[in-house]
Symmetry: C2
Subunit: 222 residues, 2 copies
């Protein structure tokens, strides 16, 4: 019974996601959905990413959390246009559904943006099931989480268009086999581009930034 | 609409959880539900915990994952009776529902157990909403995840009976304020006992082991 209910929720979400996609295409804005476990470093990665993309690209961010505006506050320091969604008023949802995204996107006025980034709620399971009308999905895994996570949470890595392996500055202090982690990602999704970087030190950012720039240009011509 | 559907799912779960609780009481077994984000170190914490509790206590473990039997394989090395639930055959569920638990518990033959531990699916959101008929809930947070997680995912810390702050061996290499993390937990749940430990080195385990022993004795007399 629970599975049937899930299907109905997902179908309603898919219908809204198609509307979102149409809106984003009409506004000629590229949309990136960033997902990960809690604490993988999405916000710090975004902060560093924004300082490298702006002002050449005009960027907006929608941040999802169950509670608090901590992440939006941290991102606002970069000067980016940012809006926070708190899902506690919607039953404490564990993901951002397509219906929550459109209003926030309209509030940001996408006509003035080249790139809209959605920082999803920290959860390696549910957000992967909810299309929000994005152009690409990026999953962030930190080296403290264990090499086996792509095998244990395969849907997230299967639906991703790119993966970030974050916190590589901690590798000397961990029993973490980075090549094995990448191999496990490729087992689930053979063509997945993987960017190994440290949001703390800035190491490894150049290929990641280049990947975004190319993707935005391919859609928007900017 | 989505919130209404969630309520129906939760009500059905609650009914089954009451049946589970009756079964566990009839068998006089103490049940502990362990929850956390992916990669916080639940399995390694459990392995070390088991070696300290057994054979004085007779322990069984139910491990939940969407895919793989990696965690059950790691736990089996300790000699514990372990059974794996994979939710991919149930729609890839992001939590262990009460209905999945009873069959697995019966397969383990709880009459021969003092303590049944459920290692839930790695997810700091959804498992907190699903009562499985357990006696206590324990949340594991690792020091790599950031101090603000109790404020951002308050339900998990509110429903917990104890919290573990894991991977304290990594503190010298992180900008992590452990007292602030504990303070944030207490903001959400003032009476929450917090055990700071390292599943890797074994530091800090004694008070945690003592807490379990007292809890098991209080219910079972063993």
């Amino acid at each position: 019974m629970e599975i049937k209910i899930q299907k109905r929720v997902l179908e309603a979400n898919e219908t809204q996601a198609q509307k979102n996609r149409q809106y984003f295409n009409d506004q000629n804005v590229f949309v990136m959905n960033m997902m990960s476990s809690p604490g993988s470093g999405k916000t710090q990665t975004l902060c560093k990413t924004l300082t490298k993309l702006m002002p050449a690209l005009r960027v907006g961010v929608i941040v999802g959390d169950i509670c608090t505006s901590n992440d939006a506050d941290r991102l606002a320091v970069t000067g980016v246009k940012v809006t926070q969604i708190n899902t506690d008023q919607f039953g404490g949802d564990c993901h951002l559904g397509a219906s929550l995204i459109l209003n926030s996107a309209q509030a940001l006025d996408c006509r003035d943006l080249d790139l809209l980034i959605v920082e999803n709620i920290g959860n390696l399971v549910c957000p992967a099931e909810f299309d929000i009308g994005e152009d690409v999905r990026v999953v962030v895994l930190s080296v403290t989480e264990g090499e086996d996570k792509p095998l244990k949470y395969p849907l997230m890595f299967r639906v991703a268009d790119a993966a970030i392996l974050n916190k590589i500055d901690l590798l000397p202090y961990l029993d973490f086999d980075a090549p094995l982690a990448v191999e496990n990602m490729k087992t689930v999704h053979p063509q997945l581009p993987v960017f190994e970087l440290s949001a703390k030190t800035g190491a490894g950012f150049d290929p990641w930034i280049e990947w975004i720039r190319i993707k935005v240009f391919e859609k928007t011509g900017r």
